[in-house]
């Protein structure tokens, strides 16, 4: 009796963690291999007549991807975690690779899009690699500017949001200012900022901070002022003073809202960064894009766009990770 019960448990457990059938797994693997192989073959056929200096890196890139896929395939035989992960990412990677293939067919292959505005992926990769020093430098400058502006805006936003959300009196005077000044896009202040500030970098930082400040303030104050009254009542009967009520009750209660503000502020800061850099600041990715455009080097424009995508989405992912860590107590309540 007991034995059979144990067997049942074992059976249930093995069913739960049973690896997906090998055939299905092989299918997903082959899909990816196939996609990379097709892209490579198409590339070799299309770029036969192109100068090899322009296409060399892309060929190397595709071969490397294929090689990595092949040589890391055995790893999944030993770890079911790796297997699950690969099964999960293969379809989307295959689709991405096929998209690259389509891009190359449309540009270099059929020449459907006007040059030089729409270079082939090979050309973009070549620009990316050949100009890596300047791109890296630009990314670094953008990063520093973004970090300073964002941090400044967040600190100011948290502070003013806390004051407006907590104190009725500050709310009375602060809310109209917030509602009138806040909705003006930060970039609309650029003409004024250029006159007022001694340096372009400084005014760009202030503009980014302003762009971040508004959503952070708005959501922090609404989160604070919507703290459940019963939490505050309970805290009062537990002997809480003002400091506890604000920082240990109202602020944690407002955190889900605050993170929405941080997220919106981050989006606004990317926009302001790129616009400010392409107008006033003489460095950074925004500057790089308009500089490359000035020389009609659209390969570099696309290369910078790719860097921006990677850069901005990494920062956003980081914010989400922090959010998941901080808001672990409400996991499952809100999903982004």
């Amino acid at each position: 009796m007991q034995n059979s019960a144990e067997e049942d448990v074992d059976l249930a457990r093995s069913r739960q963690i049973a690896p997906p059938p090998v055939s299905k797994h092989l299918q997903s693997l082959l899909t990816f291999f196939g996609a990379v192989a097709i892209t490579l073959v198409v590339h070799l056929l299309i770029s036969k007549n192109e100068p090899s200096a322009e296409t060399r890196y892309y060929t190397i890139f595709l071969c490397t991807v294929l090689a990595i896929a092949v040589f890391t395939a055995p790893a999944q035989l030993f770890s079911s975690a790796v297997r699950r992960w690969r099964q999960n990412v293969h379809p989307i990677l295959a689709a991405g690779t096929l998209l690259l293939c389509l891009w190359e067919i449309i540009t270099t292959g059929l020449r459907l899009l006007p040059l030089p505005y729409f270079p082939s992926p090979a050309k973009v990769l070549q620009s990316l690699i050949s100009d890596y020093k300047l791109l890296f430098d630009s990314t670094w400058h953008s990063f520093v500017l973004l970090l300073c502006g964002y941090a400044l805006g967040v600190l100011a936003g948290l502070f003013s949001g806390l004051c407006i959300g907590w104190s009725r009196q500050i709310r009375y005077w602060g809310m109209p200012v917030l509602k009138i000044v806040g909705p003006i896009p930060a970039t609309a202040w650029i003409p004024l900022a250029m006159v007022l500030s001694p340096s372009g970098t400084f005014s760009a930082m202030a503009l980014i901070a302003l762009a971040v400040w508004f959503p952070v303030t708005m959501l922090t104050s609404s989160g604070i002022s919507n703290t459940r009254a019963s939490y505050l009542d309970v805290a009062r009967t537990l002997g809480a003073g003002r400091g506890y009520l604000i920082f240990r009750v109202a602020v944690p209660a407002a955190l889900p809202n605050i993170f929405i503000g941080l997220f919106m502020g981050l989006g606004a800061s990317f926009l302001t960064l790129v616009v400010a850099e392409s107008i006033g600041v003489k460095s950074g990715l925004g500057w790089y894009v308009s500089w490359a455009q000035g020389w009609a080097e659209y390969g570099k424009v696309f290369a910078a766009l790719i860097i921006m995508a990677a850069f901005f989405s990494s920062i956003m992912t980081l914010l989400f990770k922090v959010r998941d860590r901080v808001l672990v107590w409400q996991k499952g309540v809100i999903k982004w």
Partner: protein, 263 residues
């Protein structure tokens, strides 16, 4: 067994309390919520306050907690007048109102943190978690707890301050019938262990008879105390004993009469 520093229970007395609120539909007129409430609790007594909803029971508790102030009348605990909320008067609501961002342990600690006593009294946290039998859930977040467990955590959170008076605002109202009966015994056990003065608001007549030393019946519009009934049954009480049932029909009759009487 848990050996905790004993609480010093205190007498609670209310004399001629009245309270009015602005009418929700017309802010210029005020409606009386409570009129001329007088009652006193001996130290360590467990008194139940029952009545239909809207009779001002919760308002009365908020006044005693110090979260609201009365229009007229005097509230004292021991010999001190009540002017503001304080850790000596614990309050437990129908909704446990655990802070969802804190684990069970941190919730129970909250009163100590708020008063800056955590370092000094950290050892007591474990005792109180054992007292409400939640030691295995110390690191769980409130959304993982069942209703009964959450309410036990809320009780421990209120008790850790050694309140002289514990105010319970329909603390078991949201629980299912079975958990509710278990929790009645649980609260009685805590009361006997802690010997705190308790004022229990409920709309469950059985609960009031089962638990309290004395029952006050309130009637609405405006809220006033209609009758006081001593419960002279020995504990543990038998919910189906004749004396219990007689008290029950007695109170029911009274509430019915009070409900239909012309104002």
């Amino acid at each position: 067994m848990v050996t905790l520093a004993q609480t010093e229970p205190a007498a609670l007395s209310l004399r001629g309390i009245s309270k009015s609120f602005a009418a929700p539909d017309d802010p210029l007129t005020r409606r009386l919520a409570l009129i001329d409430i007088s009652l006193s609790l001996a130290p360590g007594e467990l008194v139940a306050l029952i009545g239909p909803s809207g009779c001002g029971k919760s308002t009365l508790l908020r006044l005693i907690a110090g979260l609201d102030t009365p229009d007229s009348g005097e509230l004292t605990i021991g010999s001190e007048p009540i002017t503001a909320p304080s850790a000596e008067r614990g309050l437990v609501f129908q909704d446990p109102n655990l802070f969802p961002w804190l684990t069970v342990r941190r919730n129970i600690e909250a009163g100590l943190v708020a008063r800056g006593l955590l370092r000094e009294k950290r050892a007591e946290v474990d005792d109180f978690m054992r007292l409400v039998r939640l030691e295995t859930f110390a690191n769980a977040y409130p959304h993982h707890l069942s209703g009964g467990m959450a309410q036990r955590a809320a009780l421990a959170r209120a008790l850790i301050n050694h309140p002289k008076v514990l105010l319970l605002d329909e603390p078991l109202g949201a629980l299912d019938a079975f958990t509710r009966m278990q929790m009645q015994d649980e609260v009685l056990r805590l009361w006997q262990a802690r010997r705190t003065t308790m004022l229990l608001v409920t709309h469950d007549i059985d609960e009031a008879i089962y638990m309290s030393d004395r029952i006050m019946i309130m009637t609405p519009t405006p809220g006033r105390i209609e009758r006081k009934i001593d419960i002279d049954l020995s504990r543990p009480r038998d919910r189906s004993s004749e004396a219990f049932l007689r008290l029950r029909s007695n109170i029911l009759e009274h509430l019915h009469f009070a409900g239909t009487a012309p104002a």
